[in-house]
Amino acid sequence: MSTISPADTLLSVRGLTASVDEKTILHGVDLDVAAGETHVIMGPNGAGKSTMGHVIMGDPVYSVNKGSIFFDGQDITNLSCDKRSRAGLFLSFQAPVEIPGVPLSSFLRATLAGRESLEMKGKQFRRRVTELARELNMDTAYLNRELGVGFSGGEKKKVEMLQLLLLQPKLAILDETDSGLDVDALGVVSRGMDAYRKSTDGSLVIITHNTRILEHLEVDRVHVMVNGRIVREDDASLIPWIDANGFDTFEREAAAQLAAERETANDAAPARDAAADAVRAAAAGLGAGMVQSLRATLDASGAADASANASADAR
């Protein structure tokens, strides 16, 4: 559905199906991000948003069962995550780990080693890192502390943003699932994103279920994920709508879709048609002009709800 032509696409995810412990989390996800664009992946808790970020980065906990990930012209589906990082991909973690005994500065130094354009001498490195720490309002004393050990949530977030600015990736996925709950973390992330956009022409994919983090940010595209599927894609106008209405509509829509699929599998034609009608009605209610169609959407989603119940009864 994307309007981006393949030539401009920096990241292209096609039909991505991924699982953990034989439980499928992502069901055939597509995502296209062009260079310099800012995308947002939103959705309720447990929708698979963070998993999506981790799978794109190459977390070996997840198995990719189907589909492909292309980044910067290269098929990275089977590439180890260190190589993905070196190709210019970055993921900021929702819950960064603690590595006792490893000073933050040594770790940062190691992340730069062997990166031709970024590797710098000791003095230059220290100056750069100090500069970035100040930019993020971070106490430079943290550079000598053990990575993550005893850091508050806000401090951990600063370390993530510091790495974003230091590594200057071509595309950064920011997993900010919970950041909306913490005012400090929110400020840190906003500052980090600003600095990143100013210093590079890199792309951003922000994973969140809270719209506050998106204030003052120019968003090109919004993807709504429910139950491991992208159920909706639209421009930035979707954000205030979600702000006002939450994800209920999408969840009902997805439930209906799921029911329809199940019915298809069971070859129960009448129920499937009813569900499909409801989905079409729900989809029709959503568009670029959100506000005026709000009422229609709510009606339509009511219908979807009813049809979901109906299909459940049918079984």
Partner: protein, 470 residues
């Protein structure tokens, strides 16, 4: 999905495994007889009491059984151990006059650099004899004696001190290898720090084994008098041979009233070495001993530095790390005797096991009836890098006093996949990520070492970690 295994059973230790020919070196026949022991003593021109001690020790050695409670030492063939190999050089004080091949060996081990950096006296042992010894002027001017132990025996003043202390903390009757040491000891260091003298740079001794099948039985005797302060560093590395090698050194440390001694060591023995080393310290009133210990290499190791807190308010702290890889069975730990009122001890150890390596931590805390008001805390953290390795903790406590506070904690863990993923997502390779985490784990020990030794220890861990991904 199968990952490529990069397991390398035997890592590249070429940096540490090199040796030179033995032309001109004298070798005594294998096998231990009173004649050999007498010859060793005569060559060293030792006082009669030392020869008597050697002969008595030899008797005890033949009488005592091998230890039956630790890792097996069946692979140790005493007939293969040539106990004494004397290098073809006499004692030198001047670096330029040391023969080239020996110099080259030392250079590859970083001795001159260490000397330059610390501007301290360096005693380095090549095979069983001290060949290079350089006393830093400042230390000498302060009245500190730092010499080879044989050399010190020739000085009546020092001979009296040695005679009073030698093998009193570790008597030959202590165990079979203490007896062996008493019979054939050779080389090592004697350090004497007079009352109130505080040395503000570390004294270092770097020694290594070179000859095939040679055992190493160096003796370190350090006396730090009342109110004095010393940091002594011992580090060693050995080349690898197929013949079973034995190391049975002894370290005796005497810490006076209100005196302080820090004894740091990195042991890096080749993977066929039987390291049966004994180290002990005795602290008088308010005296303090600090042990920093890194144990690498060797096939089998028994190593339990012991502190005897004999004086009121004396203190002991032990910080140690053990790395057991493929084919290694390392039994290490610490012993403390709380022998007076208000003494205190801390024991903090880390152990790493990998590739089927076995690491056993043994601690023994004894509180005598005199130990009222004393405290001890023991903590052992183990890291297992795979499913085939093994890690055990065997703490023993024997409390015979009222009002003592003794605690023990042990944890055994693995490297979390989430940590590996995090580091790799920043462009760090899996092997580097694991090494980084293990080095971090070892950091409480390496941060206590002077920079060069800390770097060497990190390099050793890096070497050991090669091929750790499976």
């Amino acid at each position: 999905m199968t990952k490529n295994r990069t397991e390398v059973a035997d890592i590249d230790r070429s940096l540490y495994d090199f040796s030179y020919g033995e032309e001109g070196f004298e070798r005594l026949d294998a096998g231990l007889t009173p004649d050999i022991v007498t010859e060793i003593s005569q060559r060293k021109n030792e006082p009669q009491w030392m020869l008597d001690m050697r002969l008595k020790s030899l008797e005890i050695y033949h009488r005592m059984p091998n230890p039956t409670w630790g890792p097996g030492i069946d692979g140790l063939d005493m007939d293969n151990i040539v106990t004494y190999v004397k290098p073809n050089t006499e004692q030198k004080n001047d670096w330029d006059s040391v023969p080239d091949d020996i110099k080259d060996t030392f250079e590859r081990l970083g001795i001159p650099e260490a000397e330059r950096s610390y501007l301290a006296g360096v005693g380095a042992q090549y095979d069983s004899e001290l060949v290079y010894h350089n006393m830093q002027d400042t230390a000498a001017k302060m009245g500190i004696v730092y010499s080879g132990i044989e050399e010190a025996l020739q000085e009546p003043e020092w001979e009296a001190i040695i005679r009073e202390k030698f093998m009193t903390l570790i008597p030959p009757t202590d165990h079979k290898f203490a007896a062996l040491h008493g019979a054939v000891w050779s080389g090592g260091s004697f350090v004497y720090v007079p009352k109130g003298v505080k040395l503000d740079f570390p004294l270092q001794s770097y020694f290594r084994l070179n000859a095939k099948g040679a055992g190493q039985f160096e003796h370190t005797l350090i006396v730090v008098e009342d109110d004095a302060d010393l940091h002594f560093i011992e580090g060693c590395s050995a080349p690898k041979y197929n013949v079973a090698n034995l190391h049975a050194g002894a370290v005796e440390l005497f810490v006076g009233k209100r005196a302080h001694l820090r004894y740091s060591t990195i042991e890096n023995w080749s993977k066929n070495m039987y390291n049966l080393n004994t180290k002990r310290a005795r602290c008088e009133e308010e005296g303090e001993i600090e042990w920093i210990s890194g144990s690498f290499g060797s096939h089998v190791g028994y190593l339990y530095p012991m502190s005897v807190l004999a004086g009121r308010k004396s203190r002991s702290s032990f910080t140690g790390i053990t790395f057991a890889g493929t084919g290694q069975n390392l039994d290490t730990g610490c012993k403390v005797v709380l022998g007076a009122r208000d003494t205190s001890a801390t024991v903090e150890t880390k152990s790493i096991s990998k590739g089927g390596g076995i690491s056993t931590f043994r601690s023994s805390i004894v509180a005598t009836p005199a130990a009222e008001g004393s405290t001890a805390s023991v903590s052992c953290q183990s890291l297992m890098l795979d499913d085939i390795s093994r890690s055990d903790t065997i703490p023993a406590m024997d409390i015979r006093a009222k009002d003592v506070n003794i605690g023990h904690e042990a944890t055994i863990g693995r490297i979390g996949d989430d940590k590996i993923f995090y580091l790799m997502s920043r462009g760090i390779s899996e092997e580097e990520a694991r090494t980084m985490i293990v080095n971090g784990f070892a950091n409480p020990v390496s941060k206590e070492l002077p920079l060069e030794y800390a770097v060497e220890m990190n390099n050793l861990i890096k070497l050991e970690m090669e091929g750790a991904i499976g």
